[in-house]
Amino acid sequence: MKKYHRIFFGLLLLGFAASFGMSIYFFLKTLHTNVVLANEKDIKEPVYHFILIPEEMDNPYWRSLKKGAADAGRHAGAAIEYIGPVQTNTDEQIKIIEKAIASKVDGIITQGIDKPAFKDAIHRAKRAGIPVITIDTDAPDSERSTYIGSDNYLAGYLAGQTLIKGTNGHAVVGIITGNYNPNEKLRVKGFQDAVSKQSGIKIAGVKSSNISRIQAAEKTYEMFQKHPDITAFYGTSALDGLGIAAVAEKFGKAKDLYIISFDALPETLNLLGKGVIDATVKQKPYAMGHKSVQTMVQLLHHHDPPKILYTETTVIKKADIMSEKGGRGND
């Protein structure tokens, strides 16, 4: 009897110790669970506040550009706001510029748009003392301070030269261009100029995909129907190449067609590796973003940079992919 009492008492004591410990544990848990709304008091005020307005928010090319800008911004003590339309929409882009002016940011970095409203907005920014840098696409007749981006004419020219080399100077070329914005126009122009001296190369036509992969495929197909003798395609925007490649694969002409594309999206590189796409013109969005922020800081300190700052463009082929994959992070 006495023994059972002991055991019972011991169990009670054990239970007491355990529940007491649990109480303390949960008490400390509640103590350490801070239920507070975000309310940081010591926010580090950035030195500069720039806004980067892309053509399209969720686009690998623009994200790479944003990364370059953010890295440069961190270095310069600049906060980079990245705001743009979810899908390509120039009206919205212009509206965002106007908003940025009303928000009195320190600098605006935006893709150039060939529209009077854009010029008007840039004018107002200038009047409000906010410098504007165009990036990727220029708007030369606006009051923008500087353009930073590829030399699109040169890029087109490079593409033309590559095509001549790749087809030994004999080809019927179909051109799919994103839209008729100045960039694309220059890319087409450069290409045309490059191949014009080559008598064996004939251009079958130029069609716009409206920067849509599906439309690019449609236009490619149309062109095929119209000119069955086409032996090469040139896509001037990132998605055009993918659309062309999709059609080429479908008709089993991937090997016969010489496809030259723009930009180095992972998918593009994949197709390049498979040999569907033969070459692509690669721009350097990261360098653009990085450079734009640096230039903006210079502008704010009244060191007038040149009106145009070109970043490098290169042509990459299957052979370059291995090295490309290695250093894809920064272009």
Binding site: G15, F16, M22, S23, F27, V35, V36, S103
Partner: protein
């Protein structure tokens, strides 16, 4: 000493403090959550208010441009000021996640107010083109402000989602904590009750057992032991003390009755010895006188001594007597012996005169001398000699009785000392042992409340020496115990 009351008090205080602490903590936490809720609502209200102010200011400005009434301008001004006040309060919302957006927002409000001011200025100057342009611009900015308000509310809601999640988490922890504390207090109370009631009932049970023993007359049981240091400790201590006192008193009573019994025995013995002592005493006196008249002087003297001895024995044994009286009895006794044994026996007495008026218990010396004679001298072939020396030394009365007889064996001495323990045995009336020495020893012990007053020295062959070392009594008569 921790009293029962203190224990109970501490227990209740601990419980009350614990429960109040928990309650207080819960209240404090919920209060904090409420504060956060308030903050959130304030943020929403503020944002909403700003959006509203902007809208109102724009509408009022438009109306003012249409019908030029100063009253409308005043209402516009009101909205305008309210907007500025609210813009100041935007700091309330500022945090890391929305800092840039908020900065933009503040600037937009400034831009809006600027455009409005410029529109008013142009309007007053009558520049229609310019004022409509600025009005349109301010309308556009009002639109931006509305958009940004929504975006800010959106971001607040995103933050609130996190807040809500952690709050749920915290509430869950509170729930677990509550359950744990409930179990803890339950077990705590149970344990305390067991401990407390155990601390009460255990000493009671022990006291009960001890009390039963005492009721049966068993006083020599172990003391009741209590581990706690509360009222029960005091109670048991008192109980133990009482028990021990009672035990001591009982023993004292027993001792006293023993003394009485010994005295009775002594008296009985004297009575037995005397048959009808008064008659014998008177007869002896008559015989002594007759012997004297007949010219038998020695006989007369002998009989007178015998008579004196008898009379002494007739005296009250309870009463202490003067040493001189005792010495006188020894002389009489010796005279009788001397008559009987003649030259074979010599008595030497050396008594310091200043000792004579001390009181001693009656019938002390005579039994010793008798013992010396019977056991020492009688069996001895040669001339017997008994020495009695009485001295006062270092506050004690020393009585030294020595004989040169056959001496006492060790066993005999031991028997004499041990006799004490055999007092219950029916008395052996035989001449050899008698009540003699042993009775003397015990009476001395009881009278003086001291042991070893009588020492026997003998080498077992030649002579015995008995030394009494008695404390000096006052010169007045001592009251008998």
């Amino acid at each position: 000493m921790i009293k029962m009351r203190t224990k109970l008090f501490i227990f209740i205080m601990v419980l009350v403090l614990l429960l109040n602490g928990v309650g207080g903590y819960l209240y404090y936490s919920s209060q904090k959550s409420m504060e956060q809720y308030n903050l959130l609502l304030q943020r929403f209200f503020l944002l909403n208010k700003i959006s509203q102010n902007t809208e109102d200011a724009y509408q009022e400005l438009q109306s003012y441009f249409v019908d030029h009434s100063p009253k409308l301008f005043e209402t516009y001004q009101e909205s305008h000021h309210e907007l500025l006040d609210n813009q100041e309060r935007l700091i309330l919302i500022n945090h890391d996640n929305n800092h840039l957006m908020l900065t933009n927002y503040r600037h937009m409000i400034n831009s809006f107010i600027n455009e409005c001011a410029m529109a008013i200025h142009a309007f007053r100057e009558g520049n229609i083109n310019l004022y409509s342009e600025h009005l349109a611009e301010s309308g556009k900015i009002a639109g931006f402000i509305k958009d940004t308000t929504l975006a800010l509310i959106n971001s607040e809601l995103t933050d609130y989602q996190r807040f809500y999640h952690t709050m749920n988490q915290k509430n869950r922890y509170f729930e677990y904590m509550g359950i744990s504390i409930f179990i803890t207090t339950l077990l705590f109370c149970t344990l305390f009750t067991i401990w407390f009631s155990g601390g009460m009932s255990r000493p009671i049970r022990r006291l009960e057992a001890a009390a039963k023993d005492i009721a049966k007359g068993k006083f020599d049981g172990d003391d009741v032991v209590v581990e706690t240091r509360d009222e029960f400790r005091f109670l048991t201590d008192t109980f133990n003390h009482m028990k021990n006192n009672t035990q001591r008193l009982v023993e004292e009573i027993k001792e006293k009755s023993e003394l009485d019994r010994l005295l009775k025995e002594m008296e009985l013995k004297s009575l037995q010895n005397q048959m009808n002592p008064h008659f014998l005493f008177n007869t002896l006196n008559v015989v002594s006188k007759t012997a004297y008249l007949e010219g038998a002087d020695k006989t007369s003297e002998l009989i007178a001594a015998t008579a004196a001895l008898f009379r002494h024995n007739l005296g009250n044994l309870d009463e202490p007597v003067m040493l001189s009286k005792e010495v006188k009895i020894i002389k009489d006794y010796f005279f009788i012996l001397a008559t009987r044994f003649g030259d074979r026996l010599v008595l030497e007495m050396d008594v310091a005169p200043d000792c004579l008026d001390h009181y001693v218990p009656g019938m002390i010396l005579q039994p010793i001398v008798e013992n010396a004679f019977i056991h020492g001298i009688e069996p001895y072939e040669g001339q017997g000699k008994i020495e009695l020396v009485i001295r006062q030394m270092a506050g004690r009365l020393l009585i030294d009785i020595a004989d040169n007889g056959v001496g006492m064996s060790k066993q005999t001495i031991d028997r004499i000392y041990k006799k004490e323990n055999q007092s219950d045995r029916p008395n052996n009336k035989s001449h050899s042992t008698g009540l003699g020495l042993n009775n003397v020893i015990r009476r001395l012990d009881l009278f003086y409340k001291e042991n070893n007053l009588l020492n026997i020295h003998s080498n077992g062959k030649k002579g015995t020496r008995i030394i009494l070392s008695l404390p000096l009594s006052e010169r007045r008569k001592m009251s008998h115990v």
